[in-house]
Symmetry: C2
Subunit: 256 residues, 2 copies
Amino acid sequence: MKNIYIIGSGKIAYNIASSLNENQINITGVYGRNIETGNKLAKKVNSKFYKELKIPKITDLIIICVPDDQIKIIAKKINKIATVHTSGSSDIKLLKNCSKYYGVVWPIQTFTNNKKANFKKIPICIEANNDKFKDDLNKLFTKISNNVINFNFKQRKLIHLSAVFSSNFSNYLYSISEELLSDEKIDFILLKSLILETTNNAFKYKPTNNQTGPAIRKDLGTIKKHLNLLSKKKKNKYAKIYSLISEYIMENDDEL
Amino acid sequence: MKNIYIIGSGKIAYNIASSLNENQINITGVYGRNIETGNKLAKKVNSKFYKELKIPKITDLIIICVPDDQIKIIAKKINKIATVHTSGSSDIKLLKNCSKYYGVVWPIQTFTNNKKANFKKIPICIEANNDKFKDDLNKLFTKISNNVINFNFKQRKLIHLSAVFSSNFSNYLYSISEELLSDEKIDFILLKSLILETTNNAFKYKPTNNQTGPAIRKDLGTIKKHLNLLSKKKKNKYAKIYSLISEYIMENDDEL
């Protein structure tokens, strides 16, 4: 598979298409609803932007990089070309009428606008309906990542859910800290060595064994002070999150 | 201040006392309730363990490293020796009867058993009741950290609360992921590059601008799938956390 057509021009499309293209893969076209980002991506990967879904005959793989609820709609328009989607939580079967060969290529990463990801260390999860096609996908994506792994849908769903907790939700906790500190004009960067140590420890030991802080110590005095502080600042949402997580950390400890 | 007496023998006592001692500061004694860890620490810092609170006359600073609710009790036993505690959320005034000089030295870090921290990059927050004493504390702790900062109690409380969200609670989220993945015998290390990218982005950009995932995309289909999966696995606590944080991320976006 050396001639690949990209559907979508968002962050995943941008990162996958440009990484493949840097590794001597031909991008036969980019189709997307957004003319601006679509044209930009097509130019970046030395290809052509399509306003309508027209797929050059030379294409031997289509990579669908659109929001989950759009995959089904796009899939209906594909006929007899091997196709993969790039969603962590969508069934491979959404593509079963596209071709004899269909699959999933899901990179476990959070992508940022205007920042090109380095795929080398990013795990790429592969699923395919057919062993031959799975081998082809493994070969293709090994060009851009040293960490290509095969997972079934059950596993992939669970990894996606875990990623939401560990990445999306922990980022939300960081944004709470950032907002609280900004009240006293303190830069969030003050917490850098603490946060880096927390993540380092998570991989050096095990998060379940690393829990520190007032809740695991059952330090009800400090917990009360923190809740009072949040209530004074009228941060009721943050107080709810604080109470809920603290309660669960305390309960977990009882189960030991 | 070159002769320091340590009260407590837990993780903070261990890390502060040994870092000071490695920087040519004399530890005049270690007092603690735990004979085993107390003796171990005293040996490590070439000092003597005291089962009773006896303070050698040469001592010019006492560092209290005990749980928050014990600080007051210990403080009552101190008479006319400069004293600091090491708590992020306790008032400096708890020590006002110890001496003319009292203060707080709080390192913003999570400490792990059997792992010696490198203080050089760890921010150490200093508060003192008196400018001369504050200068002395700044000089002393600059020996072990390049990041000694002066904060008042209002600021310190807020930093401590933020640290709970960013470190203790994010570690709890990691432990949820670890547990979910273990059901399919998948190692948590799979999420390493994702988590490192999330924290890198937090400091490179701003967490409030970095939010990704189903909630910020208002992808209700994926959110529902995740909640169903948690409910099937009877992880009701995790479902509650998932719902609450997702709801708040979606609301935040409405305020933009």
